[in-house]
Symmetry: D2
């Protein structure tokens, strides 16, 4: 259970924390819980562990939602939080983000982001689930103890109050299942899942809600930072997969 996360590259990681920022600006209780916004709490949590990272934030109300071509080209890992305004995210921006993920940008999709356009576009399924807002206690158990995202994380993480997210979670089978949660109501949820799409690495992590102070939880912050570290490929050239026509003479045929 170590301290700060190891640096692995010559230059700092570049992280963009995206948030729709709707609950915080319309509901006083949420604004009090997250005075810097949910994005502010997420950025602070990541920065606690990735002390060298360059972390910026972007929100729905900015031009192009703050996700211009220039910003994405300058981002190693994008984190995504949305809930009330998924349908207000511009399709063109979604396509742009998808293009960057397929070309190698990392993506963390958080909590209610399961219903975001970017997540359902990358996964191809409905991403539905069962839920209940009833102050459940959530326990987050590690089932892949060798995974970098689980490094330094206790099993279980104990979250005193949370919205319940339960199975069946309609996603493709995760490539790696890192965490499984239980709730005091009895439900279970695959709460930490990895996927790759194109050259990009994707991590979905469900704990976190506007009505509970989950992003102030120290273990949750460690997971977010681990996820960023895992999803980042700072040395990869950003380039989408391409179709190639191979030369007429194959590898084994040159000498025929």
């Amino acid at each position: 259970m170590t301290g700060s996360i190891r640096a692995t590259s010559g230059r700092p990681l570049r992280v963009t924390v995206w948030n729709e920022n709707v609950h915080e600006t319309t509901e006083p209780a949420v604004a009090e819980r997250y005075p810097e916004g949910i994005h502010g709490a997420i950025a602070a949590g990541i920065g606690e562990h990735l002390t060298d990272a360059h972390i910026r934030t972007a929100t729905l109300d900015q031009p192009e939602h703050g996700l211009t071509e220039e910003v994405l080209a300058d981002t190693d890992v994008l984190t995504w939080w949305g809930h009330a305004a998924h349908d207000r995210v511009d399709d063109e921006v979604v396509r742009r983000v998808q293009r960057h993920v397929l070309a190698g940008m990392g993506l963390l999709v958080l909590h209610s982001g399961h219903f975001s356009k970017i997540f359902t576009s990358l996964l191809g399924t409905t991403c539905t689930l069962d839920w209940r807002n009833g102050q459940d206690r959530e326990l987050v158990w590690t089932v892949a103890p060798t995974h970098p995202i689980a490094e330094g994380v206790p099993s279980p993480i104990d979250i005193p109050e949370q919205e319940m997210y339960g199975e069946h979670f309609d996603i493709p089978t995760p490539e790696e299942l890192v965490f499984i949660s239980s709730f005091s109501g009895g439900e279970v949820f695959r709460s930490g899942c990895t996927f790759t799409r194109g050259y990009g690495r994707i991590f979905y992590f469900s704990p976190g809600d506007q009505e509970y102070p989950v992003y102030h939880h120290p273990d949750v912050r460690r997971v977010l930072a681990n996820g960023v570290r895992w999803a980042a490929q700072p040395e990869r050239e950003r380039r989408a997969p391409q179709i190639h026509e191979r030369p007429t003479a194959g590898w084994f045929e040159a000498g025929r």
Copy 2:
């Protein structure tokens, strides 16, 4: 190496074989190679082994491409072949097919269907690959010998002439990798892959091209029939995954 595939349900399977049917109607050599169309050859191949199945065909030029709500609701497994006219497939029909797959309809995507709208929508990636039309010999090796789709199939299947499809194939990691192909030029390809999306089972199988008589190959036909049998869930009620709000009192809390 058995004979006919075992029946597993009281009623016959309902299979719809879809084809854009462009090459056959515009290129005499293709029409000669596939006098009943590529769809005709695929349907015949499946019917050879699934002797009780109800097999119909549908093509691009039909109203709604022959894929109305009624047809899809009456289909256990849809097979998809397209190449020259992916962009002429109506987006509304693609969404309808995706909805049925997520609700439990089986889907076989064949050869150049890798670039179809339905495949890229379900997988979320570009589905690019490398290729060469150079009369390569293709050998299709079984790497999952316990999989139902490999039942009764020799390893390797020997296809004398084929278009080469090579890695990197930009798909999500298959849930099951059933076949890997080599080509006489030296390339390799993950040629038989399964995925699930929602309640639907998807099988991608790459051998098959308009310029080669691959769908007349007896082993290829056996794979197609095995794939249909595997993807079919005749007893499943057709219903998409839904989001559910759970009752306030959880399972473990009823007695509190």
Copy 3:
């Protein structure tokens, strides 16, 4: 949620239900709970759904534990229950069972069988877990709704009283994760997992204990029968994987 499981082969399936049969013969409360032995309850449960199957039982105290070469050669699927006497199982019998699994025999490992010699030999890990005998309620949630083992099974299965088995369960990542359980104490467990080894299919299912009447639970019985049906490969010739030296001239080199 259908009735009996579909038959898929001309001849009946041959199932052997193995049990160490120690608790039943030494503890009156267990004998009362399982008057025909745990093996008797498992066999009855499977037979309820696989009405045509030929089901026999075998126990530790028989010569060669009832698992002679002849019995195994005549078995499509073997189920294994053990707890108190793992170390009394003869190594030679374990090697024989492993050889048959690798050659295509199906294997169901049940509950405390996680520590059996046959399971740890096939998986290569310690197969440890956390546990508590505290009359927990267990809920068994389906996370792979298209899997044949989940067919006709409610989600969750509700088991009023059970021994708790919790993560971390030290197994290789399952090829397919079918069920996840929660316990009223808060723990989670990957309770339904599939693996293939050689040509054999293996299903581990954790619900079931000598101190609780779990094998009388109708949904548990359905899972056992589904598991047998899934693991069986009645048309496969029983033959272990072999090393082969290929001919000097390769496939692509014949014409050089």
Copy 4:
């Protein structure tokens, strides 16, 4: 296509390169090809990229094959090469290595090590394959381009002369399939595979043979170094998975 591999920990990695060292000491042609032994070439290749690592070698003829408890406790990653003398490896040493892998030591199994006692014990299968010693050309294609083991590796790696290893390779489905090879004879092979067992990470890589200078190939050396880097968990405390009895009062029951 970068230069040296990034350091990620305060202290140097500790690597032990094990070799049976039989061909080199009995066959002049092999001794000429590998004047420092196969272990010497492997150690040199790893050291080229992991310039800070502490790399030692160990061989069959040493007491306890050079793999004492002290050596293993001081090893982050062990690499294994064997071929002619698998049966001369002491069972007690194999159990010791397995115990350390399950407790978190990384393991690279190379080429003919597929038949080693340690590999078959960890995987549970026969690990058979097809082979031909016929100077095949081998092409090693990357199919998981985001995997750390593929970083900086061209696709394909072109190995002019190699022993052919072909499917069916009787291993459990790899957790990650990184490389697939083709051979000029037409065969394919899953040549780069990862597994986890307990807390340990395992990488199998097939290129490499006593009769060909494969371990002098620069791309092969890069893969070996990447594999060591990936399998190492320098900050993990070495401790095997344990069975735990949980407290009688569960997490959710404390307040009842």
